[in-house]
Symmetry: D2
Subunit: 337 residues, 4 copies
Amino acid sequence: MLKIGLLGAGRIGRVHAQAISEHPKSVLAAVSDAVPEAAESLAEEYQAETRSSDDIIADASIDAVLIATPTDTHSDLIEAATRAGKAVLCEKPVDLDLDRAITCQTNASETGQPVMVGFNRRFDPNFSALKASFEAGEIGKAELLSITSFDPAPPPISYVKVSGGLFRDMMIHDFDMANFLMGQLPTMISAVGTSVVDPEIGQAGDYDTAVVTMTYADSRVAVIKNSRRAVYGYDQRVELLGSKGLLQAHNILENSVVKSTADGVVGAKPTYFFLERYMTAYRTEWSAFVDAVQAGADMPVTLEDGVAALAMAEAATRSARSRTPVMMSDVLKPVAK
Amino acid sequence: MLKIGLLGAGRIGRVHAQAISEHPKSVLAAVSDAVPEAAESLAEEYQAETRSSDDIIADASIDAVLIATPTDTHSDLIEAATRAGKAVLCEKPVDLDLDRAITCQTNASETGQPVMVGFNRRFDPNFSALKASFEAGEIGKAELLSITSFDPAPPPISYVKVSGGLFRDMMIHDFDMANFLMGQLPTMISAVGTSVVDPEIGQAGDYDTAVVTMTYADSRVAVIKNSRRAVYGYDQRVELLGSKGLLQAHNILENSVVKSTADGVVGAKPTYFFLERYMTAYRTEWSAFVDAVQAGADMPVTLEDGVAALAMAEAATRSARSRTPVMMSDVLKPVAK
Amino acid sequence: MLKIGLLGAGRIGRVHAQAISEHPKSVLAAVSDAVPEAAESLAEEYQAETRSSDDIIADASIDAVLIATPTDTHSDLIEAATRAGKAVLCEKPVDLDLDRAITCQTNASETGQPVMVGFNRRFDPNFSALKASFEAGEIGKAELLSITSFDPAPPPISYVKVSGGLFRDMMIHDFDMANFLMGQLPTMISAVGTSVVDPEIGQAGDYDTAVVTMTYADSRVAVIKNSRRAVYGYDQRVELLGSKGLLQAHNILENSVVKSTADGVVGAKPTYFFLERYMTAYRTEWSAFVDAVQAGADMPVTLEDGVAALAMAEAATRSARSRTPVMMSDVLKPVAK
Amino acid sequence: MLKIGLLGAGRIGRVHAQAISEHPKSVLAAVSDAVPEAAESLAEEYQAETRSSDDIIADASIDAVLIATPTDTHSDLIEAATRAGKAVLCEKPVDLDLDRAITCQTNASETGQPVMVGFNRRFDPNFSALKASFEAGEIGKAELLSITSFDPAPPPISYVKVSGGLFRDMMIHDFDMANFLMGQLPTMISAVGTSVVDPEIGQAGDYDTAVVTMTYADSRVAVIKNSRRAVYGYDQRVELLGSKGLLQAHNILENSVVKSTADGVVGAKPTYFFLERYMTAYRTEWSAFVDAVQAGADMPVTLEDGVAALAMAEAATRSARSRTPVMMSDVLKPVAK
């Protein structure tokens, strides 16, 4: 039984607490949060202790920590926890600053401790079924990847301002999905961003709508579309065109009911947001982490993956601002995989 | 926290054990089974005790029992448990014998204890969304109900022989679904059954394929189709035609991936069987039971509902054998609701 | 080039006039109708002559006649036209009276002239693709056939009164579809009919909602559902469950547009009625008739097929009235195919 | 009755001949083609004359010409035909050379004769239904347009070499669709092209896979994806995200049959290529042309529309080659609409 310390008891922390608690081989031992009430309420629900992050990291009886704190604390906590000999699962992104993330990767790797980055969508059964079909050769060679990823509604402006921007905060999931499916980093990234949903987002220096095109050394192409507002729900789709066919992962609907009336044929909407859509993915992600820790195996998503996605977000940000494609080699020095 | 005794540690018992255990307001206290190893293995997994059914029923600290034993023990256990002051959730069918079930209903009702019958499909989010839409008036008045219910593969002949027959064992769920949606018993039932899937099933005196048509006092019509074999999965669909439209609850698919190749456009199959399809329904069913017990409220599915569905199965059995429609009033004396 | 005489210039006559005229090997030469203005307007549109039915049949230069007159004239016209040496395509049903239809079949067959009955749905590309897939063995052996066939709105009561009833007027198409797909007549027919859509239809002695169950000598089962009202359009679906899978022919929608809003995901409705849904089928039907006439080949749908469907409608009518299953052998003496 | 001269009797010429001939208010009077046999065969089929293009244009009895000749003759023929007082429907693109197309537009406009450019997709019932829904305000303000347009198989290399390139030959339809839906030209175009399908296409200086992102003065964004190979058929989809919802026009399938077996759930493929998919659109396009000519009304698609799409193709070509976004104002001087 793995004893787990959860750092951060916010919305995403609660999701992880549930997955940790439901898993037969892990137990939520301690919770920390900058807001004591948040930690206490969560700790009480799961019969865990409330402690400081430092205390949890220093506690030799804790086997692993799950970092779900604000992004600007991730790198420090990853370094501290790995130095303390803990396995780590850290929420995305690793950092908003690419250089800091790379340093963190170096430091953590020197400890030899396993670190996994929480790109939960890799564990969504639909996307993993798509990947499995592709890897089984069912559509031949990949040629053109399209990712549609729309949030149901924009976050508050206060969040937008500290989010690191749409590319680092939101599209980073899609960059990782591209890496997951294409198996390689792109060579060039060309980004367009606007604020057509809400001008305030533009005034805050961010985009609410963006399209990023990526090209690969072997002539493959990928395109990612993001919007901060799809009033019908959380729109999460992937299409991969190959030499022998097309794979599509469609949305998951709230239910299977279809109503036909004189006004049309009405089906259910996509599930509304990430909890509804990705709860299974969070459970599977946690299970994969526990399995890897217990087996001493490689993490299914690594700090290197986290750095790669962040570098793509950095390239996209530069490209959107400069209105010029950006070469990945100008952003991230190639590291042997 | 409700302390629960689980009678029966077979396949369906294990499903309920999981739901009981996951629910924040119930705990699995004790398990019984005619096969001691089955009870022990389940008890160990959930840190519960292994005891006899009699012991569990006699234990005043147990608040409720869940009966998941073979059908021929249901009536006796319902009576014993209610006499002992327990709330009861009993798997369907109440009994294979209609008279015995009616006696059980009378006896249990005299104790004043709440008894719920496990028609899990009422709690499936798709069917309950369909019912909610209907009750909101979205398709006007109901006119023609169609239920398609196909198992992926026939059970072993040994099971067929003791099952009570397709109408009591399998279609009983659909009879209850009809009652759930139509809100009333039919007046006439006309059944056709054959054994086109496997002649051995016919030799065992049962059917593997059946169509039942039901008419209602107010001229509505319902039709249920059952087959013991749909090689593509568990096919569970409902269609309700009303004066202002049609409601359909479609199957739930294994995933949302669609593959388009030169050979066609291929989607995922329906989930394979009842665990995959109805796990959410079992959890919601359990939650509804716990809520009703704690609130002292009416059970969401009653013994009367269990008797009604059994009476319809009896009528269908007689109709299929005699090749004549059977009036429900010849099978079940009307009881005021 | 086949010279065609069209008997009947009503709604369905106009459909056929278009198909005749568009076909490169047939020309609409003459039109008759009891209402002269109807004949004249149609004749003018296609530059054909207006004549009486007798004149057209007597004209040796006319190669074939298409009978689209009221049902009670079909048998006489088929007999007259075949005696006059013409090929005949006659709209369904052959007659409302089974005995008269059988006599007509005998008389027509003695002339050796080819007669085709207009069961247009056999030529619908969706149903014929379903049949082709079945005949290619893709779902193994047929076990359970389901046909859903709902009209968008009931006909006027005046029409209901002379229609011969729902089974002969509307479900006759579905009986033929069952024969088309099952390749054999059923042995027993069990019908239920009500008037839940409009009590006036019931007062006129007819049904507006009906379910017919049919069993076959080899234990297969078929079920047909009819409703005179589906406010969302013309609902025309077929499902065939086999030992190795299920084939479904779904509705054809008005267009492929799907709208997702906060209110749900809305697609187009099925095409509204038979012209929209079956125009391609009418064209293909006509083409099949022309091909068979020119090749001297067997008609793709025969008078015997027309009689068989009518006999099933007769059996269903008797069954619904008597509330008892009817053996097909009591209605139609077996004829060697 | 409009007398029509058809210039060009190739594949697309035959499509138009059918539409002209079927229309009740137009007749195919004369056909020309550089290959006399092609003209003769088509003329014979429709009982038209075979003549030279010059003769047809000079013939005062011809009301309109349909230009379906090779692209490099379009501008000359448009100018000659309009000078001769004819209405013109010209296939896309107007020209491969933008300057020549602009000159042609100027010259034709001086004659005052109506010229329509054959962007058939505007007349596809699915895309026009999408536009109607959008214009009715059903999804609010447009924010992000996505067009997916994949051919089933690449054309021969010989054709690729003279085609003007993917942007002018294939994506020009999608540029026009963007203009049709967005109602405005983009301000900036950013294109990526590769030859991942067939390296020979790259060696011929063209792309077989391309993604073009366009931004608009009011911050809207559009993205177009093209591939020369989708082995499952002709993939033609449009998605428009708005402030109140999403509109999607899906593919049209060969039929509505779905087969469920142990291997999955298989539906029909999209119709294979443009004739199957767009025959209705060609008929409606022709009908719109005839209506506009007879009413003396504005053409539904103008030469200006043809020039605009060509300018976008020019911008995309430059952008893909230079790997830099191109401002539309650098390619096409703004013209008041």
